[in-house]
């Protein structure tokens, strides 16, 4: 509990928030063989996310990324992995601008992800989307969004469809603490509760929204209480323990499947700057050090190693897997210019006329 306690005092000092609800029990290390087996699997996924994000940073440094608006989820792996572990085939979800990890944990191909982040034709969206708009609809991903809160109401619609068709699927909206101040979240939660939809709202509270700390964005930092006030099950969980996150998510997902929508806030810390060029001058080194010390990946690794697991080989294998994504992205071609006019409308419709073609016609007159 030591680390946990120091973090509490740290919270007090820096005005970060002591995780409430289950959180207090979440630092107890797993014991049963079962949970260890699970933990190993969860560790593997978290490591893949961590390593992938590190490679995204490398892609940027090498000048091979499409732009610098790349938001790394390092430090938030337990939210992505713990919650998606409670999801099933057929479930749908929407993600935010920091959603690489969630998408990867749901089964995305990191090669095609990296290629999309590089804006290449082999990317999931053929270079049209980029880091903030990667998705594979085949995996139930209803889209990543660059509008804070923009992807939230879609799960209400997906939930309506699941309920009407009785598929037993749930739809999960992932978003950050910053989105807690967007009104559309409350409209969406109200509808989910009113219509008893199989929907889950997951707030990844990494304490920061760009340069604004959660207590600088609101006075009401017990975020789950807002959901409760709208009639949803609401809970805040400490992201330090991926097993605890998965357990909380599992309970909420089970309830959602039978029409009791829920809201889960996962307390974690944004280890690095907001986007690639942000050095976080607005927060103290102490805070960053202590925030980074709350590392769900390191926590899981400790527990497994303490149980005698040797994870070096696994880590190396994952490193190799992710190295390959960079080579793949760099080797891939830019999308052909004529793809630019496709996909604005359905395939059977004529494409928009290029401006140059319009000009040719007008200037051709004699």
């Amino acid at each position: 509990m030591y680390l946990h306690l120091t973090f509490v005092t740290h919270h007090a000092r820096h005005g970060l928030f002591f995780p409430i609800g289950r959180a207090v029990t979440s630092t107890i290390a797993p014991t049963s063989a079962q949970t260890n087996a699970d933990l190993a699997g969860l560790y593997r996924q978290m490591r893949r996310v961590r390593t992938f994000e590190e490679r995204v940073g490398e892609l940027f440094v090498r000048g091979e990324s499409a732009g610098s608006m790349l938001h790394l989820s390092i430090g938030e792996e337990s939210a992505a992995v713990g919650v998606t572990a409670a999801m099933r085939d057929g479930d749908t979800f929407t993600t935010h601008h920091r959603g690489h990890g969630i998408f990867l944990a749901r089964g995305a191909d990191p090669k095609r992800m990296m290629a999309e982040i590089a804006g290449k034709e082999t990317g999931y969206c053929g270079g049209k989307g980029g880091s903030m708009h990667i998705a594979d609809m085949g995996l139930g991903h209803l889209g990543a969004n660059a509008i804070v809160g923009g992807g939230i109401p879609a799960v209400v619609g997906a939930g309506l469809v699941a309920k009407r068709r009785g598929t037993g699927a749930i739809s999960v909206a992932f978003f950050g603490d910053g989105a807690m101040q967007q009104g559309i979240l409350y409209e969406s939660m109200n509808m989910a509760a009113l219509w008893e939809l199989p929907v889950l709202f997951v707030c990844i509270n990494n304490q920061w929204g760009m340069g604004t700390r959660i207590d600088q964005a609101t006075r009401a930092t017990a975020l789950h209480e807002r959901a409760q006030a709208f009639g949803l099950a609401g809970e805040t969980i400490d992201g330090i323990d991926v097993l605890a996150v998965r357990e909380a998510a599992q309970d909420m997902a089970d309830a959602a499947r039978v029409g009791r929508p829920g809201f889960l806030a996962v307390e974690c810390y944004r280890f690095f700057g907001h986007a690639r060029k942000d050095k976080s001058p607005y927060r103290s080194d102490t805070e960053e050090a202590e925030g980074r010390a709350r590392d769900p990946l390191a926590r899981a690794r400790e527990a497994l190693v303490a149980e005698g697991h040797d994870l070096d080989a696994l880590d190396a294998e994952i490193a190799a897997e992710m190295d390959a994504t960079i080579d793949y992205a760099i080797a891939s071609a830019e999308p052909a210019l004529d793809t630019m006019f496709a996909d604005v409308y359905g395939p059977s419709a004529p494409e928009p006329e290029p401006v140059s073609m319009r000009l040719d016609r007008i200037l051709a007159r004699e």
Partner: protein
């Protein structure tokens, strides 16, 4: 449904929704007061009896989430008809409409579409004031990825809505509050022009009048009056502004060499501007006179009956302008 029958614009819209819902289990209506109340303008009245509350889903007053939920339902495989009680509320929903619905197919590389219809109504005529009387179709026409349909006739109220419900992309379907009560003898079994094709309602050699929605009726009235004086005008009802059937417009303008566009929306940077610019650039060598824009004033709409009426093109203004143009 063969044969002639007397139907109102409102009834035709209701019929289109009912027929579409009978044919396709996945079609459902979601919006404020669409179920129990039957719609603020009575378009969905009675439908809840046949289709139930699940398919005429009454919502809280949450426009952004209504459109957002429709986007999600469309992506998840159904075909929602979201209703905005007034087009004036579009402003609350433009992120979901323009950043989400309009861009999802493209942003994600064509993986998925958003086959939804956003039904709403606009225009003047009820002393409803500045926030309930607008014509905002230009915002939609300017946004790549959104289709835009605006029926002028009872026949199109039915067929354009049916066609909209077959599109693979989001369609904003804007009715005119001043047309709901208009009636006509129609045979709905008679086919309508294909989706995206304009209708030539009248042909003439002296002037081409291009319009859509309620102003089409002002254009027709003006054409009739002109005809008394021996002047013959073509009248084109665009039906959809996206797709825009410019070829039909071009053909008519190149024959007569004179064009007037009529729109209820504010003139500046509006639909009339696009139509006038397009005709001017593509038919330049055929034009004997400038393309004339008759459109709404660049002002908010007043509640005063007198001011409201004067804020948008009247049949008299359309006629007077046409007369001077051909003089």
């Amino acid at each position: 449904m063969a044969g002639l029958e007397k139907l109102s614009y409102r009834d035709a819209l209701r019929r289109a929704l009912a027929d579409a819902m009978r044919e396709d289990e996945d079609v459902f209506v979601i919006g404020e007061e669409v179920g129990r109340y039957g719609g603020a303008y009575g378009v969905t009245k009675g439908l809840i009896e046949e289709f139930g509350a699940d398919r005429l889903l009454d919502t809280p007053i949450s426009e952004p989430a209504i459109v957002g939920a429709a986007v999600g339902a469309a992506m998840a495989g159904m075909r929602p008809v979201a209703e905005l009680m007034y087009v004036d509320f579009l402003g609350m929903t433009m992120d979901q409409l323009c950043n989400q619905a309009a861009k999802i197919r493209y942003m994600f590389g064509g993986q998925i579409g958003v086959p939804m219809v956003l039904r709403t109504q606009g225009g003047t005529g009820r002393s409803a004031g500045a926030q309930h009387s607008q014509s905002l179709e230009a915002y939609v026409m300017h946004t790549p990825g959104l289709r835009l349909a605006m029926p002028a006739t009872v026949h199109d109220a039915y067929h354009l809505l049916r066609q909209s419900l077959r599109q693979p992309d989001p369609v904003v379907f804007i009715e005119h509050k001043g047309l709901y009560a208009t009636e006509a003898e129609v045979d709905l079994s008679r086919p309508a022009p294909d989706w995206g094709r304009a209708a030539i309602l009248r042909e003439g050699e002296d002037l081409a009048i291009v319009s859509y929605s309620r102003q089409v009726h002002h254009a027709l009235a003006a054409a009739e009056a002109l005809s008394q004086r021996g002047v013959e005008a073509s009248v084109i009802d665009l039906r959809t502004l996206n797709p825009l059937d410019f070829e039909t417009v071009r053909a008519a303008v190149e024959i007569v060499g004179r064009a007037m566009v009529v729109s209820e929306g504010p003139m500046t940077a509006g639909v009339a501007a696009e139509l006038a610019a397009r005709i001017s650039e593509e038919c330049f060598d055929y034009l004997e006179d400038p393309v004339v824009r008759v459109a709404g004033e660049d002002i908010p709409i007043s509640v005063s009956v007198a001011l409201e009426r004067a804020s948008v093109p009247t049949a008299e203004l359309v006629l007077r302008t046409a007369q001077r143009l051909v003089a």
